[in-house]
């Protein structure tokens, strides 16, 4: 059961304004699937628009194990030049 915080505009765009939810997931792969079931379309966006911070560390490895008290933050990805 990871604690998920969701930042603007992702919260409004996909989660009806909710910015904090609990999800049962053992990895980010599972988490993304679970979020997509709740809010269809999120998985496509996750591929290209979302960065994930697990316990304060931005991670690109979606297999990173999530524990019961992991904090996952969904951050809009910033594109460079």
């Amino acid at each position: 059961m990871a604690q998920v915080s969701i930042l603007s505009p992702l919260s409004s765009e996909f989660f009806g304004g909710e910015d904090s939810i609990e999800i049962d997931a053992c990895s980010l792969f599972e988490l993304v699937s679970a979020l997509d079931r709740r809010n269809p379309g999120f998985a496509d966006a996750a591929d290209v628009r979302v960065a994930f911070a697990v316990d304060d560390v931005l991670t690109t490895d979606w297999a990173t194990p999530l524990s019961r008290d992991s904090n996952v933050m969904l951050v809009p990805r910033v594109g460079g030049g």
């Binding site: 603007s8 505009p9 290209v48 933050m73 594109g79």
Partner: protein, 756 residues
Amino acid sequence: MNAPQDKHAFRVVGTRPVRPDGVEKVTGKAIYGPDFVAPGMLHAAILRSPHPHARIQGIDTRKAAALPGVKAVVTGADFPSLQSVVVAAGESSSDIIHLSRNCMALEKALYEGHAVAAVAATTLQIAEEALGLIDVDYAVLPHVLDPEDAMRADAPLLHDDVFTKGAEPKPDTPSNVAMYVTLNRGDVGAALENAAVVVSGRYTCQPVHQGYIEPHVCVASWNADDQAQIWVSSQGAFSVRSLTASILTMSQADIRVTPLEIGGGFGGKTGVYLEPVAMLLSRKAGRPVRIAMSRSEVFRATGPAPGAIVDIKLGAAADGTLVGAEIDFKYNAGAYPGNSAHSGIVCSIGHYRVENARISGMEVLCNRPASKAYRAPGAPQVAFAVESALDEIALKLGIDPLDLRLKNAVKPGDPQPMGPAYGEIGYIECLEAAKAHPHWKAPLPAGHARGIGGGFWGNYGGPSTAVVSITEDGSALVTTGSPDIGGSRAAMAMMAAESLQLPYERVRVTIADTSSIGYSMVTGGSRTTFATGKAVVDAAVAVIGTLKERAARMWNVEAGQVEWRDGEAICLADGKTDQRLKIGQIAAKAAFSGGPISAEVAINPGGYLPGFGVHICDVEVDAETGQTFVRRYTAIQDVGRAIHPDYVEGQLQGGAAQGIGWALNEAYVYDAAGLLDNAGFLDYRMPVCSDLPMIDTVLVEKPNPAHPYGVKGVGETPIVPPLAAVGNAVSRAIGVRMHDLPLTPDQVYRAARRKG
């Protein structure tokens, strides 16, 4: 190899060798985008909308197609119809339909210069003549250029399929506001009410073009078997491949993109404009097709950075501690949704500890070319407002502007704007370096004034692939898929040489085409030396492992009994100690010890760290004429570690110059009809050599623990501080707060005069 090493232990990293592609580039031999020729190639020209907003009711291309020498004509109708899906575009993302439509309009032209048709012919003259024979039936629509005008209820709507992302409740009517992003923490209202000083104001800056000197150009060849080749100078050949494949609904394996030398990009060459058009023309004509933009087309149809309107309220306690920030900004995204609002939020006050903040940002669509990434996209505009407001606070409280920033600057462990804690960042170190710099202490001559500006960029990692292989004579070859836009071949060779402990000259670097190496993201976002560099080092380390293994087999010892030192294998096994095998000796026998020696590494590294900087600018203002002369300039930045200091300094200097241009003179000028009136280098005034002083640099090196040599990435950050550094200097020079860029002589004169 994972922890940064003591700098003095490096042999190659931190030195300044000649770049491997240098001689080709100083002798005119290097093949850039416009230099490439394919056998039998046709030349194409693009018909562009003369209206900023018009419905395309019909296009008659029959006369053009009948002109002798014309081999193919393409319009928006030739593009496959697509399902709306957001795809990665460069380092950001876009709806594939919008990307396709920006390459060629279908139902509406959304800005002057929007492509509406293209012709390929045996000569460029014939193609251009044919454009004149195309009859487009336009119904001209009202246009809008300014973001606040575009937000009005009666404003012309650009798209009926754009709904404000991030708005609550989820909107059911389309809008010119493409995105709305917010960040809230603490209680701003109370904080500002209790602040000792609150400054507020509206700051604006104009859209500016990246200004690369090489115009866009490509050659495409699409064969009857549906396999295709594209030769292009781009920041990302893989990005060209994936976007072209998506737009044309092709398999990515069928498109081979060969990167040519690239004449500047700064974010502006991370997408596609011409490639899908050239592909369609090529398929119709059955021959390779070249399309090259003129400079005017570059200005009319390719991406500026968004302009901005920023309203800010910033409050501080009497000792200078920042207590609250309220910021609302509107970015002018141009004709299609962009991606810069997020970074506007992040980079607004992310370099300071401000407990209470309410920040909101919008991207607003207007009838201008679609905005495109430009060096730290979205950061300089809002940083200009924040750093100007800070300067006002410093003046009001009588605090040294560097001390004010030092008091509030973020440190490792402080929270980032989006939440996670900062790692080993170096803003404090930069500010301290600024304070210690002779420039900061130098007395100002009469009529001169000094301004500073701070700022940062988050930098990035992203996927990269690298191959290191050992030749039969024991030299090393590095292959990557990251185009070299400013000397990165040198950095790759240096990191590989450092790792392999070979002389720099024994390592050579190739940028491969998309069919010859695995995926790499664009060269951009200050990610290449970090991410591709890490892949190169990892591959070199893997190769060292192989070399040790092969030496062990040659000595008949365990691999663990071999050490790699000074580019040689040294045997540690009893009875054989001090036996050595040079890399060439191992390489010569590679075929008999297990086969050729090489390693490919493909990674998506985390652990990238932001780069912080502070710039000091001295100006002299002629109050009578309003002319501003930049007399001295110093750029200070935490670069993690400089692999090749010349090219790191160059990034700081180039970014500073671009920022100075943004601050002083660069702007688009539109007439009442919505047509661009300065689509050339004469009246779009980028700084020339005589406009600038030497740009001093200080490379603060606080290594990144996640990179084998401590790299953080440097390219984006240097364009963030200059807008305010220049603006603050001019404001102090004339005693009037300057809110609106560019600070042309006309503007400065009028501001000084209003003051009287």
